[in-house]
Symmetry: C2
Subunit: 537 residues, 2 copies
């Protein structure tokens, strides 16, 4: 048998806490809301069968006859802590419903559905993955099911396997895909219900009912441990400015949550930069001002958080990326050099100026391949180094600067995506698995699972399902208008952001760094079962 | 009052576990060993008063009259988790001895002794730093006390403050400094006893009695958490090779300990590379072979650990660094470009060939300033990127390679140096503080504190003190022969290394990654109170 770590042995035995009514899946029933969003005719046309479905609340009803369910589950996109617990929840839910229930796991992401590559998940198998990080039980992938052939192949798979339901665990683009499949199955008289589960460390899949995607809590806790440690080190050594870039795609949710947890000297919030239309030069100037001011107080060290998506929000770079996004698919050049030469001539004057002002390495990074959903891969752009170099250059112009400046760059991303889930994420994901199973049992399709009232004790958590189409809008992707779930950005009127703003001036000069410390699983509840601050504030 | 994190609030209340006899400092007595090392005449001449002192064992004796002690304490060099607990131990020890005892903390490293910059450590002050990471209570620094003026100023400080003892918490170079001060004080009829405390995450300050420096355990646990998470991610996403460089200076102790904790696919051990005289080309070839072999098994991902000191052990680069070390102090050039031009002509033919074969960025990094002790700053050399680029180039030559190679580089260092100490480091450091106080009470000078029998329950820990001169040899530093503590490298005949070797072939192809998980403070002892594997194997 494969050796496992002592902590893994313990975590496998952890029993996630979820509301008791959810565990009685044979008696679960539902209520539909009759409050609907204003009609969007284009969306209605694209989703005639799943439009205007109404939010669902799951409740305890009277016990009914139990029958076996056959469900397929798939991971889509990047890892997020807790994924295995969604599968454990699904497995336990359908097993408790009937001993003949079957759970299939599609392998290596949505391509596993298209190609019908799957494994059967058994009691023995899932026992090795409970409360453990990663998506390695069945793997994940980024294939988008969108062509006619892919849709038809997926339909064939669910029919061949006689699935009652398909559960797609993914982020905004993957849940968009879930909605498309749900609609497609109905249009083709297939009764397989499709349920989405909100997964992403980035925190950008939220709505009135989806209070947080799973994995966000754990990832922020892991990053905050590191940030807190680095801040303590900075404060002790007093010689480095640490520029810490954080994963999270466009939105700055992770940076904001980590800032609340660690109180660094400065945190960029992309959404704020966009709102105030700050240029790169302005950002560098403001940061340099701060570094000069701290030097006057004999502080030549500090901690700066940078959301990886920042670059997309800086107006002139946003324009450049937009132009590049439409130009890149039209150009076929073999070498980066020839691609660059060609593209420079096709950019608008403004975009060209921006492009040429950037270091060569950043230019190259902006030309890298887009992801399968057409998004720029912001994690590959060295924004943290761009800022360090910018500050260095600017400081040379500041004749009154008598301090020292040593920048250390860091990038945290992969460290947090496959961690053991926090108790919160372990519990939350297990509940999401039960909800997904309930939706399929109730033959509800095209919904994304949600838990409301998360700040109350787990017994009072409310199980909901939101029509995925309710979360969608139309967006230009790779040159075409497409229905997609709208990415939830940081709400500049929200409590979390306001709380951050109320403290940040003080943190710029005073070093009130907080040591978040490592994720704790055992001991006092306040520590082990805490929720993201952006939920509790 | 400064806000602190919920975990910090809890950790402040933790009571470190140490042997009961150590707490009864007023009755502590000692035994000296009369087994001595073979005489080294040069060292004997340099340390006439502190040479041939014999290892000391502390024991419980009969209670004696208590008197107040005045002690100064200083942090020297990089942060290591547990430092504050050494100070807490010192404080509690001398406070329990007599209420009028005084503990001074010298500020910002050894320069605080030279300049007599200090604070008085009170009960209220130390209460805010118990079991908390960082060295920020009094700061640290890298000043080396070596000139006549510096020595005289230090003597003046300890006399002015009427210190019974001076405690230097530091690594090999800092403890060398402690030995020099101890000898200098005696030669100048000053009775201030000097005690060293073995601190360094790098693990390279070890001997028969110093089983581990403090901080090593925690740092390895923090890095292993990250490595384990990244490995899980690699296994789930199946698309990246993660090249993880680990802090640790020359020696590969950290890489070895983390390899034992996480079972990555490949771990470089610098000492092994030196022994087998492997060139950079060979290392890259072997790694490329492995990547090709894994690709045949459809595995285009993996985890590779790189000790930051690896570069120093590669024979041709070792020669180059040696030549650079002697040349650099003799050349004064204003720009890197002119320095490089000049140095190329002064290098031997072999070193020149090596230098010119390296990427420009690595060349620049090799020319960076040395640390105050004359060591090259290996943490600033991007060995991880050098290897990724090397593998990329080599793969292009392998026509049979049909896989994909995407390298992701990481560097972990600052993340682990100022973490909350593990329970082991918290306990160990607290004991070291009591031992340092006892040595001063017993008027023993020039010793470094040690705890033996660490693998037994804490009540059975043995308190020792080792003459620092016993750890020294003569070494060429900045062109001069100097007495320094010999850096302890990985023992290629040791159990830890042998255990690693016995498993590594399997790990190359099978992915037996271990998820070490985050440092746990509460719960089952097996998890919370574990020791470094290199101690327990």
């Amino acid at each position: 048998m494969k050796e496992i770590s002592p902590l893994e042995k313990l975590r496998l035995k952890y029993e996630p806490a979820i509301p008791s009514f959810l565990k009685k899946i044979s008696s679960i029933t539902f209520e539909k809301s009759n409050v609907f969003l204003p009609v969007n005719e284009k969306l209605q046309k694209l989703f005639p069968n799943t439009y205007k479905a109404g939010v669902v609340s799951l409740k305890e009803g009277s016990k009914k006859d139990s029958f076996p369910l056959k469900i397929g589950v798939v991971f889509s996109g990047g890892q997020a802590p807790g994924g295995h617990n969604v599968i454990a929840g699904l497995f336990d839910a359908i097993s408790s419903l009937h001993k003949d229930s079957i759970l299939y796991g599609f392998l290596d992401g949505p391509s596993g559905i298209v190609e019908n590559k799957h494994i059967k998940i058994t009691k023995e198998l899932i026992a090795k993955y409970r409360n453990v990080g990663g998506f390695d039980l069945i793997g994940s992938g980024r294939t988008k099911i969108e062509t006619k052939d892919q849709l038809a192949a997926s339909l064939k798979t669910v029919k061949d396997l006689k699935l009652d339901g398909l559960v797609i665990i993914g982020g905004d683009d993957s849940n968009t895909n879930a909605a498309i499949l749900a609609e497609y199955f109905l249009q083709n008289k297939c009764e397989t219900a499709v349920a989405g589960v909100p997964k992403t460390i980035d925190g950008d899949l939220r709505s009135e009912h989806i209070l947080t995607p799973f994995g966000f809590d754990t990832a922020c806790k892991v990053y905050s441990e590191m940030i807190g440690n680095i801040a303590k080190d900075a404060l002790s050594a007093k010689k480095y400015y640490h520029f810490i870039k954080l994963m999270g795609r466009s939105a700055s949710h992770i940076a904001l949550e980590c800032a609340l947890k660690t109180a660094p000297n400065y945190t960029f919030i992309g959404e704020e930069v966009a709102k105030e239309k700050k240029t790169l030069k302005q950002l560098i100037n403001e940061l340099t001002d701060l570094i000069c001011k701290r030097a006057l107080n004999n502080k030549n060290y500090g901690v700066i958080l940078i959301p990886e998506g920042l670059i997309e929000f800086i107006p002139e770079i946003k324009l450049l990326i937009k132009e590049l996004n439409s130009l890149l698919p039209t150009i076929e050049e073999k070498t980066l050099k020839s691609l660059k030469e060609k593209i420079v001539h096709l950019l608008s004057k403004e975009a060209k100026t921006t492009f040429e002002s950037l270091d060569e390495k950043i230019q190259d990074q902006l030309l890298l391949d887009r992801d399968p959903h057409g998004n720029i891969q912001v994690s590959k752009i060295d924004t943290e180094k761009l800022l360090i170099e910018g500050v260095k250059k600017e400081l040379k112009k500041r004749s009154d600067f008598k301090g020292k400046f040593n920048g250390q760059d860091h990038f945290f991303g992969y460290e947090g995506r496959a961690s053991f889930p926090s108790n919160f994420d372990a519990n939350y994901c297990y509940a999401l698995g039960f909800i997904a199973a309930s939706l399929i049992k109730l033959k509800l399709t095209g919904y994304i699972c949600a838990v409301c009232n998360l700040t109350a004790s787990f017994e009072k958590w409310e199980a909901k399902a939101v029509p995925i189409v309710d979360l969608m809008h139309l967006e230009i992707r790779s040159g075409e208008e497409k229905p997609v779930i709208k990415k939830a950005l940081v709400d500049l009127n929200g409590k979390a952001y306001k709380h951050f703003v109320s403290g940040r001036k003080l943190f710029e000069m005073e070093d009130n760094y907080l040591s978040a410390g490592p994720l704790q699983f055992y001991g006092e509840k306040e520590i082990t079962d805490s929720l993201p601050l952006s939920l509790t504030l």
